[in-house]
């Protein structure tokens, strides 16, 4: 077809006529058409892996539950309110319950969280706003290194190195503030160091890098315009942080703290080494010993010899699984709420 001269009569018709749209042909190899064998195999493998990980989570819940039920059926005590000594040798009349485990676990984790949260906030603010750019990377790396140290090393450090150094502080607190329930003489020796006091400090060090990393990640996303606006109004550096970074990053901080709490609740071997196991009841003192869920399971694990005995501990493990699940879900929810706002 020749292009009509626009000056000629009737040329407008040609221009006005609907041009023929070329029909789109799908040439993409993964469209509706045939896919090669390699593509199908690859898609299948990756989809299979996705399914596998979902199945794994379901399996964790199901297997723990299935293994726990026979033991729970033989429990002569109320599983949730019995806090005394576990008797699992006589499988026809078992006595076990999680009341004390739950208290010790939550108490130690919360103590660690209270110690770690302000420090983590300080580090995150420092790394996001204060530190010279040149040392930000190395400093963040050093804080992350805290997470790379295995928990058993924290455990032996806590018991053999830290605890003797804490002894004067612990005895001073016990002597002078002993009237307050947190510092009352507990069921473990104050000078021995195998207390929640030592364990909580070690736990705080262990969860510090997690809280810091999550918080810092949100803090550095504070819009530059907010910071500049605050500076333009004459805010000091601290006022910039207070008026822009903190409100913006609060959800990240909460989320990081929750993730840290989840880690603290499930921590096993550091606490197993530090905490003195005791049969005495837990009394909400920092100078108590005792067992958390994880240490109770780990301390007895090598003696699992029948399904009922194992089942009792698996039931405790299931509660721990659900507990950490809820805490982690809260952490995700804190961040998810931020995104939609």
């Amino acid at each position: 077809m020749t292009t009509p001269n626009p000056a000629d009569a009737g040329s407008g018709e040609v221009v006005a006529a609907a041009s023929v749209e070329p029909t789109a042909t799908r040439s993409l190899p993964w469209g509706n058409g045939k896919r090669g064998r390699g593509d199908r195999l690859f898609h299948g493998l990756s989809e299979g892996s996705g399914v596998l990980i979902v199945v794994l989570i379901a399996a964790i819940g199901v297997f723990l539950l299935v293994r726990a039920i026979p033991a729970l059926a033989r429990d002569k005590e109320n599983f949730f309110t019995y806090g005394g000594n576990w008797v699992t040798t006589n499988t026809s009349a078992m006595h076990f319950g999680i009341f004390d485990l739950l208290q010790v676990t939550v108490f130690a984790a919360l103590f660690a969280l209270i110690l770690a949260m302000p420090v983590a906030l300080g580090i995150a603010i420092f790394l996001a706003q204060y530190s010279p750019r040149r040392i930000t990377g190395p400093l963040a790396y050093l804080v992350d290194l805290l997470a790379a140290v295995p928990s058993i090393i924290y455990g032996v450090w806590g018991l053999y190195v830290l605890a003797p150094r804490l002894r004067p502080i612990a005895t001073w607190l016990n002597e002078h503030l002993g009237w307050f329930f947190l510092f009352a003489t507990g069921n473990a020796s104050v000078s021995g160091g195998g207390t929640i006091f030592t364990a909580g400090i070690v736990l705080a060090v262990m969860i510090l890098p997690i809280i810091t990393a999550v918080t810092r990640e949100v803090f550095i996303k504070t819009p530059q315009s907010h910071i500049e606006a605050a500076l333009a109004l004459g805010a000091t550096r601290w006022e910039v942080v207070k008026t822009t970074v903190l409100p913006f990053g609060r959800s990240g901080y909460i989320s990081g703290a929750m993730l840290g709490l989840g880690r603290a609740l499930g921590e096993t071997v550091a606490l197993l080494i530090i905490l003195r196991g005791t049969q005495a009841a837990f009394g909400w003192s920092l100078f108590d010993g005792g067992y958390t869920f994880a240490t109770k399971i780990a301390a007895t694990a090598s003696e699992f010899n029948n399904q009922y005995k194992a089942g009792a501990y698996i039931a405790a493990g299931l509660v721990l699984f659900l507990l950490t699940f809820v805490v982690n879900a809260m952490a995700r929810a804190a961040v998810a709420g931020k995104d939609t706002r």
Partner: protein, 310 residues
């Protein structure tokens, strides 16, 4: 009466910050700087303790070549060879299982089904798995392999439990790397008629390889120090055992835990062994971390330009 407009315009003199504001600023600066110091004290202290106390045991050549077979807490000598072998073998078997699965899950989430119901479910599953305490992972493997399927306790069961802990880390690291590979690269490849799976294996994965390697190495370093699965799923053996499927097996965390119950702290022989094993474990993890950094340098995608490397 003069209105405000009649007065000559004069710039306000700059008023100094009030004392309260300056004080608050100074205090805040001190506090945030202090918190960094507070975090670094335990790091330095832990590493210093381990090196100072562990050096004694590690210095002997016997440490690297002998096991603790026939040793007691009152007989000096022996080494950590059995424990190093055990830890490395358990870590490697775990890595062999988790690396392909983890990378495939990440590929599925990024390249295939991130928005499908299954994709969302898988993301959720990875989130949960990230938070699963190691003791729960170990209990699950106990309930599945030992209580239900009837296998004996073994190093392999430990590896399986470690897979649960390593998998989410690998998925997250890989996912993150795949997401920053620019879509242009994929589209250019598709435009040339390259099938999708070849695009992924030849273009996308190599572009993100350095980050994936870092993630894998860091995950490996983390699981090698895990102790909870060892306590539940395998007994500690003082002697060599290369068999992943039968018998007790030594490992560095297992050796450390064994020494704490053998009287470390009071008796110098287990104390030396305890800190020696701790130092060996730290060295092993340091080597892996350094390898991760070297891996990043070697596999950095130079040929693909620097547009997304920063």
């Amino acid at each position: 009466m003069t209105s405000i407009l009649d007065r000559p315009l004069k710039a306000r003199t700059f008023t100094a910050l009030s004392l309260r504001r300056r004080l608050a600023n100074a205090i805040a600066t001190v506090l945030v700087t202090l918190s960094v110091a507070v975090a670094l004290i335990p790091l330095v202290w832990v590493l210093y303790s381990v090196v100072a106390k562990g050096l004694n045991a590690v210095r002997s050549s016997e440490w690297w070549t002998h096991s603790q077979a026939d040793m007691t807490a009152f007989l000096p000598g022996g080494g950590a060879y059995h424990a190093i072998v055990g830890t490395v073998m358990q870590g490697l078997v775990c890595a062999i299982i988790s690396i392909p699965v983890g990378i495939f899950v990440a590929i599925y989430l990024v390249e295939y089904g991130g928005d499908t119901p299954l994709g969302k479910l898988a993301t959720f599953a990875v989130d949960i798995l990230t938070g699963v305490p190691s003791i729960v992972a170990a209990l699950f493997i106990y309930a599945l392999c030992i209580a239900t399927l009837g296998f004996p306790r073994s190093g392999f069961a430990v590896s399986l439990a470690l897979v649960l802990l390593m998998l989410p880390v690998i998925v997250r690291a890989t996912e993150e790397m795949l997401r920053i590979v620019p879509a242009d690269l994929r589209e250019a490849s598709f435009a040339l008629g390259v099938p999708k799976w070849k695009t992924i294996t030849r273009i996308v994965l190599p572009a993100g390889l350095s980050g994936i390697i870092t993630g894998v190495m860091l995950a490996l370093a983390r699981v090698m120090g895990e102790t909870a699965p060892l306590l539940i799923l395998v007994g500690y053996s003082q002697a060599m055992n290369f068999d992943m499927f039968t018998g007790f097996m030594g490992s560095l965390p297992g050796m450390m835990y064994d020494q704490t119950s053998a009287g470390a702290g009071a008796n110098p022989i287990p104390t030396d062994r305890l800190w020696g094993a701790a130092l060996t474990l730290i060295l092993l993890i340091a080597v892996i971390n350094v390898a991760a950094r070297v891996g990043v340098k070697v596999f950095a995608p130079e040929t693909l330009g620097r547009s997304f490397s920063g």
